[in-house]
Symmetry: C2
Subunit: 225 residues, 2 copies
């Protein structure tokens, strides 16, 4: 197909496609005339993956390049490919920790912080052990869980890893649902794209579904009508 058709099929504008071609993100097409080239389905798929990494997830062009280079190398090893795509995506930290205002800290509070962080890391290790989850060492996601536990405690909420076990069980089922939707054979680019979509794009929707369910169950439990 010509570049105009590639643009139509992928939803990426011609100037942006030309930029990706110059930058090496997208391999060149097969030259057919002085200023023309022929593109194929692989170009469409790769453009969609680039678009989901940059446009949906907000990765930089250079981070996207790294991911794509690694995808090319890992063709055929689905686990490595997924680990790569999942690992390349920094976990969203939408909950900012409470502002720590030096002036308000009692004397000696500064010294207590590393202990809190250490406790939280141990808590996450206990949680993943309880769940039987085997992960890479120090994944960013574990850090997020540790930070949440730390923040909860800083806010005076009595919360430890045991409180998260029922949520971890739901997360375990969600992850199995996610993977059920990946074709376990087939084009690695397509799998990588689908993994990005399912991990990243679904995230706001999953939280939104929880909000809808909270509203419903709150009405059932506490509603007067």
């Amino acid at each position: 197909m010509r570049i105009s058709e590639l643009s139509r099929r992928s939803g990426v504008s011609i100037p942006t496609i030309k930029y990706y071609l110059r930058d090496g993100l997208l391999p060149a097409g097969r030259p057919t005339a002085a200023n023309q080239a022929e593109y194929d389905e692989d170009h469409v798929r790769r453009l969609r993956l680039i678009r989901s990494l940059i446009g949906v997830r907000g990765l930089s062009v250079s981070a996207t390049k790294d991911v794509l280079a690694a995808v090319d190398e890992q063709q055929g090893d689905v686990h490595l490919l997924l680990g790569l795509v999942l690992g390349a995506l920094p976990v969203e930290r939408s909950g900012r920790p409470p502002r720590r205002d030096g002036a308000a800290e009692p004397a000696g509070a500064g010294a207590a912080e590393p202990a809190g962080a250490r406790d939280a890391a141990e808590d996450v290790a206990a949680l993943t052990a309880e769940m039987g989850w085997k992960t890479s060492p120090n994944p960013p996601a574990a850090q997020v869980v540790a930070e949440t536990l730390e923040t909860m405690r800083a806010l005076g909420v009595d919360y430890d890893w045991r409180s998260l076990v029922p949520y971890a069980e739901l997360a375990d089922r969600a992850a199995r649902l996610d993977l059920d939707q990946l074709p376990d054979a087939g084009d690695p680019l397509q799998q990588a794209e689908r993994a990005v979509l399912l991990t990243v794009l679904l995230e706001p929707a999953l939280l939104a579904l929880r909000r809808l369910a909270q509203e419903h169950h709150s009405a059932l439990r506490f509603g007067n009508g």
Copy 2:
């Protein structure tokens, strides 16, 4: 207690407490001397709630004021209180929709967009009906789900509301877990604070747990070792 003790207990600095007092976010203490006042447990709790709304969730001071005023009015009606706290919190939209690049759109594609949005809204209505969820009209969370479905389709993924039903079932269980952790009687400020913490602060941790589980199950299914 004096303001210094209030600062220590709440983790909020004295200058910030004075700012909240001037701004009316925090009710004045009981005057004891020319420049001194006595504060109580209600002040500690209210400061913690202010801190979680502003510091954790990133609400503006004026939005926080609105929420607190409403909390004061709704004392005793837990459902209204929670609806308020939950509704006051805009749903995080971490997944940006793919960039729509005018130049790349085929002729007539612009006209198709409203239909896509309408289909997505109908999809969400079908999903909440299937789940038996009763919610307020047009909650922001429903809009997030609709946008996700729309984006999925724009990226060429075959996805409709039925694909989300298993996730909605998990969300339903998560919401019930959340509400189990709210004291169903007691101080409304404390309940409001706990609702904020459980809805907002847990969100990044829930997504992080899913990532950890994804990594584990991906290794089980696709790993070579």
